[in-house]
Point group: C2
Chain length 378, copies 2
């Protein structure tokens, strides 16, 4: 089948062209509709090595399908010697791997861009690290035996909808080389339970180190093709300045460090309140390119930076904890962190704009009000 | 202790006064910060009798506390003969009740008000129905034995923050009569697993039939007092037109019916696409006041209404399914539903404005594009 895309003139009026917001334009009800159904991870949950079920970020393009695990079949076909149709039981009889992986939405940080690309309005929180269980895709592909001329592997989900007038099932591809990386899993469980509907029940792809768009949920088909797959979602997840540009494809997760917000919040502004005195600033840092080798922290809005101590990492593909003692002094502070990985990639001090609003890793600017320590009551 | 509220002049600049948005003012980054951490239930999950874990709506005022179930103690005290300190094991040794309860945020519908109260911007989706397990509060209160003069019971959570300059632990009260209703539970599990952090781990109050603000999460204290408790969250959840009004307190859930969106969506606008021909419109309806006795459906934006068939209800406090066959004809339709309960309460055709943005039950206006049925490809 390869592509499920169809353009229907009758759908043209349904979706507006991609656009960026006007100067000063607030977020509209379309974006609120997305923000109310999708969600990030409340940042205080950076305290957990493994993100509790239900708190990991969720971004679904279309509806969450109603799927029956007992009849689910994964079709593996295309340019292969031995097409396969695998039930969940078939997959679970294969070698089983569990690992903790940090996943992040490619659009994390989008709503902090100016002008703002109109789409799911993330600030910083579209991230999570769950422990995923599945079987390596490589073994399944080896059994199917791709034939000479195999170029890409196309993954199709059961989720179906329209984007910019194009009706489609959600589809993404990897090259054969990427798809046979032993890290890539066909996953049926997270945090020890079967996948909940919003995370791809009953089966999803998991591509550790890549932004979440690569980890196709509700996976029903794996098809080997003899050409570079250039489907809608491959083109959509590209870094471009203007709509007509080809752009660079979004792939691996750029390094990012987040601060677990200290003290307690104001409900609406989420500004933080801390009592003066010794504090331990902590958080997590990750990169899909290489190990995080440095986290720096600023408490003065980026004017000066101090190296934090790096801590444990539950898995090479999970985030790394970090900490830094801070003597909080009365007044207003702006707290930020930035990560650097072993390839030298780091976070820019200012947002790097692109039209899709992808991979904005400009550091947090956490507003912290430090109050005098000598407050009488508890 | 009763109140945990303290006003500190140093906090005055932290939170802005409550306000409504200016005409045409889009949603701001403060509201996006809330929308990105809190979340509703994607409406296609109305297909489930019991909302899957992680998909039920979440609204937390402050941070989700890090709580240790093994050392958690619920203090029951105040105007009682026998103060109690109960571990989770103590509570779990008491009579155990499990029931499916529809819970809804009082602010559901807020972002559809004009002018828009500035707070968590919900459209329709701040709802869910999980199966909660706990022990009746009434039995625990009976053991503590409230003394003569007991008026209210105050519930205090471990969540701590600032609202409008007032530092506080989240606190709500019920009258002694309301609190000893056998329906009210001290709950430690949902959908068969221990409460996840965002739903109150390890212990929460569950007040079936009431909006979610009554079901205090991370419950650490139950205190019987000799006066009407008038804490911050009692005053905040009131229906008022102007800030200085006393207003009517928000209590039970007003009737609402929601349509499970038919067909498939456009990603950004969430408008629906349906092929012409026979459809079954379905959804759920609930009321915290009485049984739902009628659901009416409109496919023409509220010009005409047709009675739907009522279906099963997994629990008297859960939602009721409904369905209506519909022959979808090519063109644009606006689909809505409205519920009426046994008290005669129903949904208004237009939003009823109040300054807090509570209980806006004006029906959905689901935009549905019906395409010709004779489309060639799959």
């Amino acid at each position: 089948m390869t592509t499920t895309e169809t353009s229907n003139p009758a759908l043209a009026g349904l979706s507006r062209p991609a656009r960026v917001a006007d100067e000063g334009e607030g977020v509209g009800l379309d974006e609120i509709g997305l923000a109310a159904r999708n969600h990030g991870m409340p940042l205080e949950l950076l305290a957990h090595d493994v993100t509790p079920l239900g708190a990991h970020y969720v971004l679904t393009h279309y509806d969450i399908p109603l799927a029956d695990a007992t009849t689910w079949a994964l079709e593996v076909g295309g340019l292969v010697r031995s097409p396969l149709s695998l039930s969940l039981a078939d997959l679970q009889a294969r070698p089983v791997v569990s690992r903790t992986v940090t996943m992040e939405c490619a659009g994390n940080g989008r709503a902090r861009l100016s002008p703002r690309p109109v789409s799911q309005p993330w600030l910083h929180e579209a991230v999570g690290a769950m422990t995923w269980t599945g079987t390596p895709l490589a073994g399944v592909l080896a059994d199917a035996a791709p034939l000479d001329g195999a170029v890409d592997v196309v993954f199709t989900g059961a989720d179906h909808g329209v984007e910019r007038g194009v009706e489609q099932d959600y589809q993404r591809s990897l090259t054969v080389e990427q798809a046979t990386d032993p890290e890539v899993l066909l996953a049926w469980a997270c945090n020890g339970v079967e996948l909940p509907p919003q995370h791809g029940h009953p089966l999803r792809l998991l591509v550790p180190g890549w932004y979440g768009m690569a980890s196709v949920k509700w996976l029903r088909s794996v098809e080997v093709v003899d050409h570079v797959f250039d489907g809608y979602q491959m083109r959509a997840y590209s870094l471009r300045q203007a709509p007509e540009e080809e752009g660079e494809r979004v792939t691996r997760i750029a390094p990012r460090a987040l601060v677990q917000p200290p003290g307690f919040p104001d409900f609406l502004s989420r500004r933080r309140v801390v009592r003066a005195g010794p504090q331990l600033l902590t958080g997590r840092a990750w990169s899909g390119w290489a190990e995080v080798v440095s986290v720096e922290v600023s408490v003065d809005g980026g004017a000066t930076w101090v190296e934090a101590e790096l801590g444990a990492q539950p898995d090479p593909r999970a985030w790394r904890s970090w900490s830094l003692p801070w003597t909080a002094t009365e007044g207003r502070h702006v707290v930020s962190a930035r990560a650097t990985d072993a390839t030298g990639r780091t976070q820019p001090s200012e947002p790097v704009w692109n039209r899709g609003g992808f991979a904005n890793t400009a550091p947090q600017d956490l507003q912290v009000l430090v109050l005098a320590a000598d407050r009488g009551e508890s």
